[in-house]
C-alpha cells in the first residue's frame, strides 16, 4: 500500500446529549494514502462527516474526541497549538462542505471573499498576486474568471457555486482536500462534470482527496480506495475494484446490491431489511447484527476486531477471524 498521508487510529468521538451519550465515531481506524482519491461511504448518521471534521480539527460543540489519535504527514493533529492549527487548516487540509453553495457569503463579491481568505492566512501576497492565483484556479474549474470574480453568489448557478468552492479549497495549496457530498444537490450532468474537474485537479496537482458520499455510483466513478462506515464504525476498507468485485463485510455486500443500476438485472437488487440503529441506543456486539443474515451468537456479544490482509484490504466481521479467511468468499 502507498504511504499514508492521514492515519486515524482508534478514534472515538462522543456527543453528550440530554438523552445520553452519543458515540458518532467508535474506535475507528482509517488511512488516507498519499496521492489517491479515497472515498468514505455510509448512510446518514454513519459518522463519515464527523470523522472528516475530526481530521480537520473542526468538530462542532458539544462533540469531543474521547480517544484515539490522528496523524497528518507524521504530525499529531490533536496536539497542534492555536498558531499551528491556523496554518494546518486550509493550508494543509481544506474542505468543501456539503451544500457548499450556501457556504459563500451572500453579500460579498467572490473576489472580496477570496482576498479575505488569503489575508487570514498570509500577509506576503499582494492583492494582484491573490487575484491572479484565483483567476488561474477559476479557469481550472472551467469558469470565466472575469465574470465570476465580480459576481455575487446569487448570480451563479448551483454547479457554478460548487466549482467556486472547489477553487476556494485550492487557494492555499493544501495537501488534502476533503469533499463532503460535493454533488448531492446537483443534477447528474453537473455532477459528472464536477467529478471530471476533480479528477483532473487530482492528477495535475497531485492532491490527495477524501470524498464523503452515500452514493455507491460516485464511489465507483471517482475513488481509488474505499472505506465503508456503519453506525460510527469503519467496517471495511480496500481497493475500489476489489471492494466492488469481492465485498467482504455483509453490510458492504448488501449496500452494493441495494442500489439500482442502469445495467444489472433488476431482480438481483434487494433492500437491506431493518434500518440503521439509533446511535443513542446501540445494539450490543456488532452494530450490524440485527440486519445481518450471517449473524450468530458471537455477533450479539462482541464487536468484531478488524483484520488486515497484506494486499491492503481490511474488514471487521466475525466471518473473518484472521487475514487468511478474507481470501475466502463468504458473502453472496
Amino acid at each position: 500500500m502507498m504511504e499514508p498521508l492521514v492515519e486515524v487510529r482508534g478514534l472515538t468521538i462522543e456527543f453528550p446529549m440530554r438523552a445520553g451519550l452519543l458515540r458518532a465515531v467508535n474506535e475507528a481506524d482509517f488511512v488516507i494514502p498519499k496521492g489517491q482519491i479515497t472515498a468514505l461511504v455510509g448512510e446518514s448518521g454513519s459518522g463519515k462527516s464527523t470523522m472528516a471534521s475530526a481530521i480537520m480539527r473542526a468538530i462542532s460543540v458539544p462533540g469531543r474526541v474521547a480517544g484515539g489519535s490522528i496523524t497528518f504527514d507524521g504530525r499529531d493533529v490533536m496536539s497542534l497549538g492555536k498558531k499551528e492549527l491556523q496554518a494546518y487548516k486550509w493550508e494543509q487540509v481544506s474542505m468543501v462542505f456539503q451544500a457548499a453553495q450556501n457556504a459563500l457569503n451572500p453579500v460579498a463579491r467572490i473576489k472580496d471573499q477570496i482576498i479575505e481568505t488569503f489575508r487570514a492566512h498570509s500577509k506576503s501576497y499582494t492583492e494582484k498576486q491573490m487575484v491572479d492565483k484565483a483567476r488561474n484556479l477559476l479557469d481550472y474549474v472551467r469558469l470565466d474568471p472575469d465574470r465570476v470574480l465580480n459576481s455575487f453568489p446569487h448570480g451563479l448557478s448551483g454547479g457554478m457555486k460548487q466549482r467556486v468552492m472547489i477553487a476556494f479549497s485550492l487557494l492555499l495549496d493544501p495537501q488534502l482536500v476533503i469533499l463532503d457530498e460535493p454533488t448531492t444537490a446537483l443534477d447528474v450532468i453537473t455532477q459528472a462534470y464536477i467529478f471530471d474537474i476533480l479528477k483532473k485537479i487530482h492528477k495535475d496537482m497531485n492532491i490527495t482527496m477524501l470524498l464523503l458520499t452515500h452514493d455507491i455510483g460516485v464511489v465507483a466513478k471517482a475513488a481509488d480506495r474505499v472505506g465503508v462506515m456503519y453506525a460510527g464504525n469503519v467496517v471495511e476498507a480496500g481497493d475500489v475494484y476489489d471492494m466492488f468485485k469481492r465485498p467482504k463485510h455483509p453490510y458492504t455486500a448488501k449496500l452494493m446490491k441495494a442500489v439500482p443500476s442502469l445495467y444489472e438485472d433488476v431482480s438481483e437488487r434487494k433492500g437491506i431489511p431493518g434500518s440503521p440503529p439509533d446511535l443513542l441506543n446501540m445494539p450490543p456486539g456488532c452494530p450490524f447484527h440485527p440486519r445481518c443474515e450471517y449473524a450468530h451468537a458471537k455477533c450479539k456479544e462482541q464487536n468484531p476486531i478488524k483484520v488486515y490482509t497484506p494486499a491492503g484490504h481490511e474488514v471487521a466481521c466475525h466471518l473473518y477471524p484472521n487475514p487468511e479467511s478474507v481470501a475466502e468468499v463468504r458473502t453472496s
Partner: protein, 370 residues
Amino acid sequence: MNARNIEFEVEPRQRLREAVRTESSEVLMRLDSVSMYFERNQGMFGPPQKVGAVVDVSLDIHPGEIIALVGESGCGKTTLGSIITGLQKPTSGKVLYKGQEITKLSGEKANQFRGDVQLVQQDSYAALNPMRTIYQSLSAPILQRKIVRGRKAARARVIELLQTVGLTPPERFLDKYPHQLSGGQRQRILMARAVSLNPKIIVADEPVSMIDVSLRISILNLMSELNRKLDIAIIYITHDLATARYIAGRGRMAVMYLGRVMELGGVNDVLSHPKHPYLQALLSAVPTPDPEIAKAITELPLRSLEMPNAAKPPTGCRFHPRCPMATDRCSSEEPQLRLVGSEQTACHYAEEAHELWQRKMADIGAIKSV
C-alpha cells in the same frame, strides 16, 4: 398497451397507427397538447416574461400502468405531475379524465376525480400534520369521504392499510406521531394515505430521494406491489434513471428537457436504445455502481454544460446549443416526436445518434441484453 411489443419488422407508420388505436381503447387520462406557462414579472416596467415549464406535452395514461417521468431539475416533470393531479390548470391544452375535461368537472364528478388521483410527495415529514397521530391522519380522509362509517370501521380499515404498506404490527403505529417514525416508515404512511381512497392513479414525486440508500428499494418494491395488486396506475417522477428503471421495468418512460418530452417508450427500450442525444448525455452522466464501467465513461457527449434560460428557450430544437450532433436544421426546425424503432423521439437525427450510441456501448462492453 400491446403496441410496445409489436415486432421490429413492422413498418413504422403502420405501427404508429396500431399504437394509436390500441391506446385509445383504454385510456384513463389523456393529456392533449398540454402547456403550462408561468409569468415572471420583470420589474415595474415591461411585460412579464413567460416561462414554459411544460410545452405541448401529449400523453395517455392507461389503467394500471407505470410511467416514469424523468429529467433534470427545471425540466417540468413536477409541473406535469401537478397538472395530472389537477392541482394546476394548464395554460393551454386539455386534460381528459375518463373522457371528460377535468376543468369542467363539477359536484360529485369533481369529487370523484380528486379521490381517484392521489399525490405522494418527496418530503414525508412536511406532508404529515405533526400534531396528529398516524391513526388521525389516516382515518380523516376515509371518514370524510364516507368510505367507512363509524370509528370502529375506520380503525379496522386503517389497520388494514398499515398492513398493506408493510407496517407491522399495525397497532404499534396507530398512536405514533410522524416524528417518532423513520423516513422510510413515514413514506409508507403517505402511500397508505394515497391508497386509502381507492385511487386509479398515484403521482409519486421523488418518493425515495430523501430516504436512506439501503431502504430505497423496499419503498420502490412497495409501489410496484400496489401497482400490481390494486391495479393503480403510477406516475413516478424522478431525476434518478436507475430507480426509474427499477420500478417501471414493465412500464414506460418519458424523458423531459426544458418542458418538452424528448423521448417516450418502454423503459427498457428507452434505456438500452436511447435515441435522443440529450438522453444519451444523461445516461453517460449517471455514475454506474461498477468501477470498470464508471471509469470507462470519461467524457460527456455535450457541447455545453450550461442549461439555457427557460424563459428564452433556443430556437428550433431546445437541445441544439448543447448537442454534439446539431446542424443548421436543428437551430431552425423544432423536431416533433416521431416513431423510431419502438419508441418516440424528438430528434431529426435519431437514427444516426442511436447507431453512434450502440457503437460506443459495445466499446465499453457494458451492453446487456434486456
